[in-house]
């Protein structure tokens, strides 16, 4: 294999690994949108808080990493519930754009709160995980771990949604919220559970991302817009579409980063997105309206 091929393959593999985490992110966003019909613009900021949580728990207070992860997931899950109860629920009857703007306000708030509380320095978890060498390629262990955990997370969510009554109710409410009363389902409870689930997924994503990236108040800007693009391209509320789109975007970013600076990867992804809108406006796997 020529040198270039190795790098290409490595980029491709890294793309797949990144795709796993992005798929996890888009799942959380799609879940909340599909069920509650609101987009949490501040989703990436919830992840940012989770990352800070991990940093403080593990690097500062020396909590064992496994326990820290659990605390983080549960913690951000609760943040999701708080977000819903305090900001979203009062606005459920309002125009959708107001809901969007309100979460935009929360974005501001969270970024600024982080700036005020933690300062703008970059923090690192300080956990050096080994780098694996496969033939000539270097694959970081943290990336593999992140991919694996993301996959497990998604499988668990899938099982929850299909095997449990509450999960089935969550799927149902996304398809017809008005008749849920007839089944004896309290919509508000489902919304809260979904918010907790969305938050929990963000918490899980935070654990995985903090292994690979530094955290600072604006780290959400690195993957927030991409997550939105993924969800829109896959079709907001379309889990399968988001899943596919996540890997497509991840490959674009990875390959873009191979040949140019990382930022260009994002630009490629956006250009691809625009092009796709011309080509397949209904989204990659057209379904939800």
């Amino acid at each position: 294999m020529g040198i270039l091929d190795i790098f290409l393959l490595e980029a491709l593999i890294n793309g797949v690994l990144l795709g796993g985490v992005l798929a996890l992110l888009s799942l959380g966003l799609n879940l909340v949108f599909g069920v509650i019909d609101v987009v949490w613009i501040c989703y990436a900021e919830l992840i940012m808080l989770g990352m800070y949580g991990m940093y403080f728990l593990y690097s500062v207070y020396h909590v064992p990493i496994g326990l820290a992860a659990v605390v983080c997931i549960v913690g951000v899950g609760m943040l999701g519930v708080i977000l819903h109860v305090v900001v979203i629920a009062p606005l459920l009857g309002a125009a959708p754009i107001n809901q969007l703007l309100a979460t935009g306000g929360v974005l501001f708030f969270l970024q600024s709160a982080a700036t005020v509380l933690f300062g703008i320095e970059f923090r690192n978890l300080g956990l050096r995980l080994p780098v694996l060498k496969l033939s000539e390629m270097f694959i970081s262990y943290s990336r593999l771990l992140a991919f694996g955990a993301a996959l497990i997370g998604m499988v668990l969510v899938y099982l929850f949604l299909t095997r449990t009554y509450t999960g089935t109710a969550i799927r149902a409410i996304a398809q017809d919220r008005h008749i849920m009363i007839l089944m004896g389902v309290d919509s508000r409870r489902i919304y809260v559970i979904t918010s907790a689930l969305g938050g929990g997924l963000a918490g899980l994503a935070a654990c995985l991302l903090v292994l690979q990236y530094d955290v600072h108040p604006f780290v959400g800007l690195s993957f927030g817009p991409i997550t939105f693009l993924i969800c829109v391209l896959g079709g907001l509320g379309n889990f399968a579409g988001g899943f596919v789109a996540a890997f497509v975007f991840a490959e674009l970013i990875s390959l873009g980063g191979l040949y140019l600076d990382l930022e260009w990867g994002y630009v490629f992804a956006f250009v691809f997105f625009i092009v796709m809108m011309f080509v397949r406006p209904e989204g990659l796997l057209a379904r939800r309206s």
Partner: protein
């Protein structure tokens, strides 16, 4: 008496810097005017339910294209600014056309524009060799900073008058749109696109027109800001924060009223200044924190903004619903 009120106010505004020479308050007023113009530009789309969270991108393009054309291309801002406007308009068409053509509205449109402003910021950062990246960028001073050719003036008074003129032009454009057929077309579209199309409205064309207009005006604001401040950085002129700030200010001021965005600009900028003066560098982040909380509170309790709600109190029959997509 009512007829001459605007004229009196206008004369007072124009005469202001000649009577009151203090530099700092004048600077604040100029900043308010420039941002008011930007916010007004945004509201021209926002009032029709075309909520863009990407106008930070247009502002950034306006600022950076002008500065880059001057520094690297030796192009006078007199030509650079039209170029920047063109770039902004082009980008608007590129992004908005597929959105409108394929009925991407509401949530989707907002998210796409949000990503747009994020991407513009990324591009600016990525081209750091040309643009200075996150560290910022400075247009080169020409003839000691006072030159008509380079559109640089050291006197605050001159800038005040320029900013005032541009701001007034923005309000004028707002009124022209408000009284035009475009306004009714866009209102019909925002209520029921299919119905409007059935009635013969060229939905995509109308939406595109207002978007391009809004984008170009915002780019102009960016260019003006660049020439005035003589320093731009990705965070101050582009990005999601700027986009959200725009929305916030307009929501606070009142989205359906011509002077609403101006009121919003005054409030947000004065707030930031007060915080800066009171807390100094410790204020970093506090202004956005307050914005964030206020935005949420306003959306929940006062979706029409301060000015909008006040006007509603005066004329209760003019009740319009809060922005809808």
């Amino acid at each position: 008496m009512r007829r001459s009120l605007p004229w009196i106010a206008g004369a007072a505004l124009i005469g202001l810097p000649f009577l009151y020479q203090s530099a700092y308050p004048l600077h604040i007023v100029i900043i308010i005017l420039i941002w008011s113009f930007a916010y007004t530009s945004w509201s021209m789309m926002g009032r029709f339910g075309l909520v863009s969270l990407g106008h930070g991108g247009f502002m950034g393009i306006g600022a950076y294209v002008t500065a880059l054309a001057w520094n690297h291309g030796g192009l006078t801002p007199w030509a650079g600014i039209p170029l920047a406007l063109l770039a902004g308009g082009l980008l608007a068409v590129l992004v908005a056309y597929p959105c409108f053509r394929f009925r991407i509205t509401g949530h989707y449109f907002a998210l796409v524009t949000l990503a747009l402003s994020g991407i513009v910021l990324q591009v600016i950062t990525a081209t750091r060799d040309q643009t200075g990246g996150s560290l910022g960028y400075t247009p080169e001073r020409y003839q000691g900073g006072s030159s008509l050719y380079a559109l640089q003036f050291s006197g605050k008074t001159t800038w005040y008058l320029i900013a005032l003129a541009v701001w007034a032009a923005g309000i004028y454009v707002w009124y022209r749109v408000d009284r035009s057929m475009m306004r009714y077309a866009l209102e019909a579209i925002s209520e029921d696109e299919d119905g409007a199309a059935a009635a013969g409205v060229h939905v995509t064309a109308e939406k595109l027109k207002i978007t391009v207009l809004s984008a170009m005006m915002t780019a102009l604001a960016g260019a003006l800001y660049c020439q005035y401040q003589m320093f731009i950085s990705p965070d101050t002129v582009s990005g999601i924060s700027i986009s959200l700030q725009m929305v916030f200010a307009v929501v606070v001021g009142g989205i359906y009223v011509s002077l609403g965005p101006t009121v919003g600009a005054a409030i947000t900028i004065l707030l930031a200044e007060v915080l800066r003066i009171s807390f100094g560098t410790r204020a970093v982040g506090w202004d956005n924190l307050v914005y964030g909380v206020l935005l949420v509170l306003f959306i929940v309790f006062l979706p029409k903004g301060i000015l909008g709600s006040l006007l509603d109190l005066r004329r209760p029959s003019r009740g319009r619903p809060a922005p809808s997509a």
